[in-house]
Structures are given as C-alpha cells and as structure tokens.
Amino acid sequence: MASDKPTWKEYPMAATIHQPGSATGQNTGDWRSERPIRHPEKCDKCGICWIFCPDAALFMNEEGFYEVDLYHCKGCGICVRECAKGAIEMVEEGE
C-alpha cells in the first residue's frame, strides 16, 4: 500500500533525533479529557502552577499571568491542586 510516510531506509538509525526540542511539535494536548480554565481575578501571579506543571505547558503572558498551552497540556490537573487561590479549575472537554 502506498504511503507518504518515510520507509525504513529513510529514518535515522535507531530513530535517533538530531533536532533538539523537536518534541514541542508533538500535539500531546489531544490526550486530554479535562482542561484547566483560569480565573485571573483570583490569581496573585505566584507562579506555583508554572513550577509544578510536569509538561511545561504553562507560560507567562505580558501581564504576568500564567496561561495554558493547550497544544501540550495533558489535563493532569496538578496546577489546579497546587493553586492556593483556587484560580484554576478543570472542566470536561467538550463542555
């Protein structure tokens, strides 16, 4: 069957990746069943969500608030659990 994907001869030996940081191109956000919703009015910009995010899926915006990178966020909810101010909550995907 014809395919536009590389053949076994075209991959680097042992699948070695020569481009550092190439995983940023992987859409790991589509594994998520729940997503975090922010409430900036409760947020004091402490950054604990950013520290605890295991996937570096939070980033600081120009105003100093932390936003979620939904392309990479897997919906683990650690940010919600760690936020002392209750400034983030999880909602079901599709809602």
């Binding site: 076994w8 001869k9 991959y11 699948a15 020569h18 550092p20 190439s22």
Partner: protein, 391 residues
Amino acid sequence: MGERTGLEVSLAVSEAVKLARVEAVAAYPITPQTHIVEELAQMVADGHLEAEFIMVESEHSAMSACCGTSAVGARTYTATASQGLALMHEMLFIASGLRLPIVMTIANRALSAPLSIWGDQSDVMAERDCGWIQVFAETGQDAFDLSVQMFKICEDKRVLLPGIVNIDGFTLSHVIEPLELESQEDIDAFLPPYEAQVILDPRKPVTIGPVGFPEIYTEIKMQQNQALLGSYEVVLEVWAEWEKKFGRAYKPVESYCAEDAEILINIAGAVSGTARVAIDRMREEGRKVGMIRPRLWRPYPFEDMRAAVKGAKGVAVVDRALSFGGPGGPIASELRSCLYPLAEKPVVASFIAGLGGRDVTIDDFYTIVAETEKIIETGYTDEYKMIGVRE
C-alpha cells in the same frame, strides 16, 4: 607472526581486549567469567591499559554503563555468564536497538535452579533473540582471535550492532592452551580506532532512544534486522582479512571429516574438541561420521548450513541447553527450520547433553551416532533425547 605462548584462555581474552585498545569496561565478576575482568581491572590499575574500568553493583548496571560509554563514542567491552547475563537481559535489547557496538564475552554457564556454576549454553540460548551478533569459540586461539575480530565487525558502519563471543565456562575459560598472541602493531593495523556515527555530546545535542510510536517502531526494527542480516557479509570480509594477515581461517560453518560423511555431528563450542576425537576413532572403524560446527550463530548462516549437510543421511545435533517443553535443543530446532524448505534433507536428531558441567564423553558420541542411525532406519520416535541421564 605473533608470540607463541601458553596462557589461560580467560587471560588470552583479556589480552585481546587490551590489544583492541578498549576504552571502557563495565563489568561485574561472576564465575566462570571472573578471570577475564579481574585481569582487565589489573591492567587498568597497573597503567597497561588506558581505559575507564567502571565498577558496578550488578550486571544490569554493567550493561547500562556499557550503553552509556558506547553512546559517547568509547570502544566498550564487558563479560559475563549465566545469572549475570540473565540480569542483563533488558539492557541487551537496548544495546542492539540503539545500535551500540559493544563487545561481550560470555563464559557460558548453566542457569539456576538448582544452582550450578558449571558449564553449558543455557545462558546464551535464553538470549538468542537479543539482536547481537553471536559466535562460538572452540579453542583458546578462537577466543583470542574472535575477540579482536568482533570489534571490527560490530563497529563497521554497515553493521553498528553489539556482538557476543561465547567461550564455554571452565572447559575453555579456565584451561591453559598454547596460542599465538599477535603484536600490538599488527592488531593496530587490523583494527582502526572506533568512529562513532552518533555521539552523545552536550555541545551537539541528540536524542538517543526516544519513544518509537506504532507508526515508526516496525520500520526501526526492520532497520535493525537488516543490519544484523547484512553483518554476514562484513563477518566474511573481516575473517578473510584476518586469514590474510594472521593465517588463521574462520568460516560461518566449520566442518571436520564432513565431505563424505553419512552422519554429521552438529555441536557448538569447546565440546567439539571431544567430538573430533570420537570422529577419528569412528573413522578408523570405517564409519562415515563427520562434524559441522556453527561458528556464527547470529546471523544464522542458512545457506552455509544447507550446503554443509548436503549428502548426509542424518545430522546428530548436540545441544548443551534444553528448551523446556519445546522441540528439543535450540541448535537442533534452528537446523530443522533451516532445512525444512529443502526437498531432500537429512534426518535431524536432537540430543541434549553436557548440562550443568556434565562431561560429554567419547562414549556419548558413540551413543548419539548409534541413535541417529536408528532414526535414519526406522524414523523419529522422540522429539529429542537426553544423553547420559540416569533412569
């Protein structure tokens, strides 16, 4: 010409590794491999070998460390046996999957339980499918030569796979044999420094061993298997060069008195020395018996085996390993698979002998040949027979 000397085979292997200018050794001592790595540790401590000797707490760590040193571009060696090899199991597949040309000696020994420190080939047979190039030595000279050759085979850019040199525990590892040690100058001319193709280096980051999603895993395994199959040609090239340089020939399947033989004994490792004596006696008695010996075990030399058995009525395969509940010995079942497509093929009789250090005697070979004759005349009665078991 090298220096002719008498040396314990384990020490000859250490000497070969030193002459190969190995740069990293990570090993854990285990009987009957101990003398090899003790000697290497001594060489490093005395300043005779410029290598990193990494003390580890287990064989799993030994092979893990070997993967690391090989990945940073160092020529890497280790040795083990039995339980130690079993403990390496997981990492063996990583070494081959990452295409790291690590060279390892296995001083073949039985697996527990019951605990046995003595020789058989159960250890390597349990790792048959780990993706390493695998050869068997019969003599101390084989052990020395194969150890040097294996670096060249594994590091070839067309191969880049790890390799195992099997030497039988005690019956080979601990005996003193006359052998020729080649000079550093000659080995240097034969074996150039290792040029790694991909190196872990923080100045030029690469990811070695990433996740292989289902859409690429099969392709990467295809690459790996093609490299192992393709190593066959490189093995032949390296052996041809060795013969030219040092005058000693190696073949994927080696034969003895095989040309007109009606029955061929098929056996790997040092016990083939006893088989030779048995064959000589049988020949004196006018019996057409010979031997074919798989030197190269992986990649399996299919065509050489098919050519080697041509004309024989029966092959008596002697395995020093048992496939519990399976079709017999591993060497026998491989040979049966290899010969199955042929329209005309000899009987393949499977015998299990020499487990856990039990001697395989000249009388045993007489029994094995007689049993094979019986199968040729009246057909198979059992999948395999255990030789020398008390009933």
